[in-house]
């Protein structure tokens, strides 16, 4: 009798999951350090062109302007490429005001070094880009960065 009982006690102990939180926390900290908060959701298609002579962008002094065709959820805005700033579509005439607004939100010592990051879909007409650039010249924001994907140099 006693022999059987002893066997009963010898069941496998539950597997300890104590290290699982540690692993997940490790992942969590990695993501917290390596990423930044998403600032605006894109309402346009945004496939960037690629280039291999790229420089790094300084995030702190950049205003982003997006352009491209409205994406599938925003079909009601038509199929013509549109300009997006923050979370709204703007017209070419509004670019100047938007840039001033963007500059105003920046800290003072960076205001003179402002860079406008142009994230433009690669299937957009270059004419729209030159319209934006013309507006930027009027707003005296003369440094632009054409944001591109890094292409591998052969």
């Amino acid at each position: 009798m006693s022999k059987f009982r002893k066997k009963d006690k010898g069941e496998l102990p539950a597997i300890s999951t104590a290290s699982l939180p540690d692993i997940v926390f490790m992942l969590l900290f990695f993501f917290m350090v390596a990423t930044v908060m998403r600032d605006s959701s894109l309402m346009i298609e945004n496939q960037l062109p690629s280039a291999d002579q790229v420089e790094k962008l300084k995030k702190d002094r950049t205003i982003f302007i997006y352009a491209g065709k409205p994406s599938s959820q925003y079909k009601q805005f038509g199929v013509e490429p549109r300009i997006q700033f923050n979370d709204a579509f703007i017209t070419v005439e509004d670019v100047q005001a938007s840039v001033y607004q963007g500059i105003g939100e920046m800290t003072e010592e960076l205001q003179s070094k402002v860079v406008v990051g142009l994230k433009v879909d690669k299937n957009t007409n270059a004419g729209l880009v030159s319209d934006i650039k013309q507006e930027l010249r009027k707003a005296n924001a003369l440094k632009v960065m054409y944001i591109a994907n890094t292409k591998k140099v052969e």
């Binding site: 990051g117 270059a126 003369l142 440094k143 632009v144 591109a148």
Partner: protein, 211 residues
């Protein structure tokens, strides 16, 4: 009194909480990877001064039409040849600059009908409104690549001794400047300026014609 082992704390829910946080961060954040071509636009000039006349041979015209075809110096070429053509033009060194110095560092063919001096050489780019942005960026990239190639060449000629391990000397110099941006390194800045002066980037863009 019998010694009792402390009961094990159940940590199962901790993993759940951590997962929740992890998923939150996964969806609300993006990994920074923005890179691009940095260019300066010309300021708006409303003075009525006549622009100086540029001799045709110092001007390198690049046109892109609405079908994304490339016309360089009145000749249609594929984009793969653009970089070399630009380098040849900038590096020609056929004459002298404003100060009357000839380009002693140019390794070009010194043709009579190409640019006099990198100082005078101007690239003029023009595109149609219907040109796709992708093609426009490809061309920009090639033109910048030509300048970068020449600047790298001069940088390794002049300053290779300070950066013996660097693959690309000019890039290494720029990176070093980036690293000590809070402590100005006069010597380094001066060297970078020297290189930039040897091949000043003169890339002008004409506005596309309004239809």
């Amino acid at each position: 009194m019998a010694k009792r082992a402390a009961p094990e704390v159940n940590a199962g829910s901790m993993a759940d909480i951590a997962f929740l946080l992890l998923i939150f961060f996964l969806v609300t954040t993006t990994i920074e990877k923005d890179k691009g071509l940095l260019r300066s636009l010309p300021p708006i000039d409303d003075t009525e001064v006549e622009p100086p006349i540029i001799r045709q041979k110092n001007l390198f015209t690049v046109n892109i039409n609405r079908n994304n075809q490339l016309l360089v110096e009145e000749e249609e070429i594929p984009i793969t040849q653009l970089r070399q053509a630009t380098i040849d033009f900038l590096d020609n060194g056929g004459g002298t600059n404003q100060a009357g110095e000839s380009c002693d560092y140019c390794k070009g063919k010194r043709l009579e009908d190409s640019s006099d001096h990198p100082d005078k050489a101007i690239i003029s780019m023009k595109h149609d409104r219907e040109t796709t942005y992708e093609k426009y960026m490809d061309v920009q990239n090639e033109l910048v690549a030509a300048y970068n190639f020449l600047r790298e060449r001069e940088a390794s000629r002049l300053y290779k001794k300070y950066y013996p391990d660097a693959d690309k000397v000019f890039t290494a110099m720029l990176e070093e400047k980036e690293k000590n941006q809070f402590s100005k390194d006069e010597v380094l800045n001066e060297r970078i300026e020297t290189i930039k002066k040897l091949f000043p980037m003169k890339l002008s863009e004409a506005e596309p014609d309004k239809k």
